[in-house]
Amino acid sequence: MTDRPDIRAAVERRLKRRHAAERRFRLYGVLAITVAVAFLALLLGRIIEQGHSAFVTHSITLDVPVDAARVDPAYPQGANYDQMAAEALLVRLGVDANTADNGRAVRDLLSPDMGFQILAQVRADPSLIGRTVTIEAPVGDSADLYFKGEISRDTPEEQRVLTDQQIGWLDQLERQGLVEAHFNTGLFTRSDSTQPEMAGLLGAVVGSALMLMVTALLSIPVGVLAAVYLEEFAPKNRLTEIIEVNINNLAAVPSIVYGLLGLAVFIGWMGLPRSSPLVGGIVLSLMAMPTVIIATRAALKAVPQSIRDAALALGASRTQTVFAHVLPLAMPGVMTGSIISMAHALGETAPLLMIGMVSFVPGVPEGILSASSALPTQIFIWENAAEAAFHERTAAAILVLLVFMVVMNAVAIVLRRRLERRW
């Protein structure tokens, strides 16, 4: 380099400083990643810790005599089956005093589901009236929490939802082997309910699926074609520039604005049914479209010009060139962009709140026009519920939503890997 010793020494010092700067920068990088991962782990850990218990539930198996005196075969739904179940339980517990207090106390431990099941059996087979039926039903939400250890015997009685007497009964039932813990299939096979132990996500999942279907069918074809036109056919002039800028702006518009728009235009002006997956899907597709357009354009831009030249030079028309060569090559990028924007739409809450998808819908939506909830709004509803048992379900619903997102992203990655070709 140089023979001058002073310069050489300075060069060496500088070299040391440069290496030190390099090491520092790497350290910052590792720290940043560590912090990010730590927050993520904390968040996930908290949700899992809160939500994992919702995947387990306790049920009770009880023999309930259907009292012929209290059931009118012509009108079976008129009978109070809950009362019969409660009495059967009291008998089982060996409590003779069938007082009103005892009845209420014991009824709190059972789910209304038991009464519904007895009614369903009796309706299916009226000959059961006067005989004894064996019913397995979830325990009440407080009882479930007690079995999971969420309610402690050590808490002063006046601060618990369960009395000492009820806790005693629950312990007794457990000893008798009537209570059983198992996987909470109800979480996936039932829809929303006012009773936590009977509430499930099926309606929300179906609602979200219907909505996403509408979103995908609208935003992907329209978005991809718009991008193809803008990128491959449209002349590059002021107008297309303005359009391009505005598409980028649209992608940045807060989602609640889309909700307001949906409320005003689709529900208010066009008169589409409120809370329906159709309106939700349209609103979400408006929101997803700019993302799809931007992703598609980026993918098209990445296709080498030489492929277009090759096709054009062979005498292919523009359209043939684009649809036979350019778009297939851009497909991995288009698919990835679309799926990620769909995943984004799946998790979107704010616009759905605006169009009324936050209302209580107890059943599975029958079609895109019927009222429905969606996964994120279901989380929102449950989080606001009073019963403690809903809170663990909120966390469980978040986990389910996250799993859907991870699956969609994984599909995007797999599709990209599978479709990606070298050129």
Partner: protein, 272 residues
């Protein structure tokens, strides 16, 4: 449509070896503008049939621009404007009645980097005949593909793997595949834009040998940065500089005894 009245006296290399097969492509006063920038001014050059015309010159001299005029590939560039007359067999290619898509079936093009479609070898070659509807049956298409691959000297190497991806071939094979793809639509003129610049010397030699064979059937126009290549493959050479033709000459004469000082400086490596 009126045929343009142009000076049809040949603008080709003079000398005892005048083109034996007449002139295929005739250009007069061709100027090209990209927006406000003039890339080519008043280029007049005739390209003989069944002969190789080489276009040489420093980067940005307009030789590729000129090449792209011949099959109207400049149409695909926004803001490009072509003036002057370009005739293929006496027919103005820029006339309204001429469909560029049909023109490009007659004037094939091979690019600098091998650009096979990311499809199978068969599909690469079959694409052209398919879109132009040149064949009526599958077996006929297979024949066309085989013929094209044979003429491109690639058949023996790929006959047993036609269903493999075109991009699985080596660079030189890809370039020959691209040439096969171009000749599959049975063009009359083949334009080559620096076809060997991405290839090693052996692959280059094979392409040059192929060009020499194809010369028996086509009018070939080749843009090249390698003067040695122009000297090896062409019969006529045109030297472009700053968007103009400086000298047109028989290749052997241009490389032993150029008439213009700029040509001499360029080919002997004295470009300042």
């Amino acid at each position: 449509m009126d045929a343009p009245v142009i000076d049809t006296r040949p603008i080709v290399a003079a000398g005892p070896k005048a083109p034996a097969h007449g002139i295929k492509v005739r250009t007069r006063d061709v100027s090209v503008f990209y927006g406000d920038k003039q890339a080519l001014s008043d280029v007049s050059l005739d390209m003989a049939d069944r002969a190789v015309t080489a276009l040489i010159g420093p980067s940005g001299c307009g030789k590729s621009t000129f090449l792209r005029c011949l099959n109207r590939m400049n149409d695909t560039i926004q803001g490009a404007r072509v003036e002057g007359v370009i005739e293929l067999d006496g027919e103005d290619v820029n006339a309204r009645a001429v469909d560029p898509v049909a023109l490009r079936a007659r004037v094939g093009m091979v690019f600098q980097r091998p650009n096979p479609f990311p499809k199978s070898i068969f599909e690469n070659v079959a694409y052209g005949p398919r879109i132009h509807g040149l064949t009526t049956s599958k077996s006929e298409l297979q024949d066309v593909v085989e013929q094209a691959l044979r003429r491109a000297g690639l058949w023996d190497e790929v006959a047993d793997r036609l269903d493999q991806s075109g991009s699985s071939l080596s660079g030189g094979q890809q370039q020959r595949l691209v040439i096969a793809r171009a000749i599959a639509v049975d063009p009359e003129v083949i334009l080559m834009d620096e076809p060997c610049s991405a290839l090693d010397p052996i692959a280059t030699a094979r392409i040059e040998e192929l060009i020499d064979e194809l010369r028996q059937q086509y009018c070939i126009v080749i843009v090249t940065h390698s003067m040695a290549q122009a000297a090896r493959v062409s019969q006529q050479t045109a030297f472009f500089h700053m968007g103009q033709i400086v000298e047109i000459g028989r290749t052997d004469e241009l490389f032993t005894n150029p008439k213009e000082q700029r040509t001499l400086d360029y080919i002997t490596g004295r470009f300042g």
